[in-house]
């Protein structure tokens, strides 16, 4: 799920002194939505069909383009690239290999790709996405923490109130998680009634996050409870563990928590 995988390698360029009309014709001819703008061999901007539509056709490309375009490294995670585009309200990023432009990636492409990794019931990421994210953070040596959440007695809820009701419970629970999450938190429906949260929060914020998570929750007067397996990235060397190992460990911790809760 690196940007490089989804970028367009074919870069079409135009000189900054050409007219907007020329750029429009070139885009039509090449059937592309944007051109990279060059000046003396250097990339100075991106011009898109939207830029062209908004401008007088006689203007030169330098007056129509988006100057100093945003760029991202080819090894960046696609979620990071999409967030950058959404934050800056741009449709495209240049993809760099060190100082060289090697491609262009569009918001549409990344949205589509990330959309394939969204669980249709809850709107959370699927396990495949969180696995890529985990491996990316490990590769980048970015410290993070992992929560494994497992709903209690979900099978009984399904049996007692129907599977449709069970699905509503899952959606309700997912929405609660979304409410308490912020930038740097990643939510995933791991499977069935299991959820994974990866967070990059500071140690000092973890306790508060956990307390928010554990606040009582109910759906149509049916109490929803869950058990948590938590791997603190400051205490567990997640960089040395594979995704599977960490999930297994966190899952076992949640099972133990469930067992102790029953004992009590």
């Amino acid at each position: 799920m690196k940007v490089e995988t989804f970028m367009c390698r074919q870069l079409y360029g135009v000189s900054s002194g050409k007219s907007a009309q020329y750029a429009a014709e070139k885009m039509n001819e090449l059937k592309v939505g944007s051109l990279v703008v060059f000046e003396e061999g250097k990339v100075v901007g991106i011009v898109t069909s939207r830029d062209i539509r908004a401008a007088h056709p006689n203007r030169i490309v330098a007056d129509v383009m988006t100057a100093n375009p945003l760029s991202i490294h080819k090894n960046a995670f696609i979620g990071q690239a999409l967030a950058m585009m959404e934050e800056n309200e741009v449709e495209r990023l240049l993809v760099m290999d060190d100082h060289e432009v090697i491609g262009i990636v569009t918001r549409e492409t990344l949205r589509e790709e990330i959309g394939k990794n969204i669980d249709p019931l809850t709107g959370l990421y699927r396990a495949s996405y969180i696995e890529y994210l985990y491996n990316f953070l490990v590769e980048q040596q970015t410290r993070f923490h992992l929560f494994f959440l497992d709903l209690n007695n979900f099978g009984e809820i399904n049996k007692k109130y129907s599977h449709i009701f069970g699905n509503e419970v899952l959606t309700h629970f997912a929405n609660r998680l979304k409410e308490i999450c912020q930038d740097g938190d990643y939510l995933c429906r791991y499977g069935g009634d299991e959820f994974v949260v990866i967070t990059k929060r500071e140690q000092s914020e973890l306790q508060f996050f956990y307390e928010q998570m554990k606040r009582p929750i109910a759906y149509k007067n049916v109490a929803i409870s869950f058990s948590v397996g938590f791997l603190n990235g400051n205490l567990h060397d997640l960089f040395a563990k594979s995704y599977e190992e960490s999930i297994r460990e966190a899952s076992l911790l949640s099972t133990k928590a469930k067992f102790y809760a029953k004992e009590r």
Partner: protein, 117 residues
């Protein structure tokens, strides 16, 4: 049978010579947001014709995108003051598709008194 119709095709040429002013802009150009030339094109033109004599100032205005101004003017009077005056006056004349040329002269009068020894 003969064709008596007369047919003629002529071109009339009119030439009008005037001196090309260098630079073709005077002291100011106000560039509308939808004008056929944008600030960068104007900057390049000014730089090619009169190097280092003009500056482009981009402004936040609904109709005007930028002002090309002769450097000597903003060396004499604060840029913000000049821009405020220009925009107040031009706002009534300009629409966003226009490029407006303006002359702006600054006359400084000084009167000083000195003590007579």
């Amino acid at each position: 049978m003969t064709n008596n119709n007369y047919y003629s095709k002529k071109a009339s040429i009119t030439i009008k010579f005037t001196e090309f002013e260098v630079p073709p802009m005077k002291d100011l150009l106000l560039i509308g947001r939808q004008a056929p030339v944008g600030p960068e094109a104007v900057r390049r033109m000014a730089e090619a014709l009169s190097p280092e004599q003009f500056s482009i100032i981009k402004i936040d205005h609904p109709k005007v995108e930028a002002v090309l101004i002769r450097n000597t003017l903003i060396e004499m009077i604060d840029k913000e003051i000049i821009l405020q005056i220009i925009m107040e006056e031009a706002d009534k004349l300009l629409n966003e598709r226009m490029v407006l040329r303006a002359e702006l002269k600054v006359a400084v009068s000084v009167q000083r008194e000195v003590d007579l020894a």
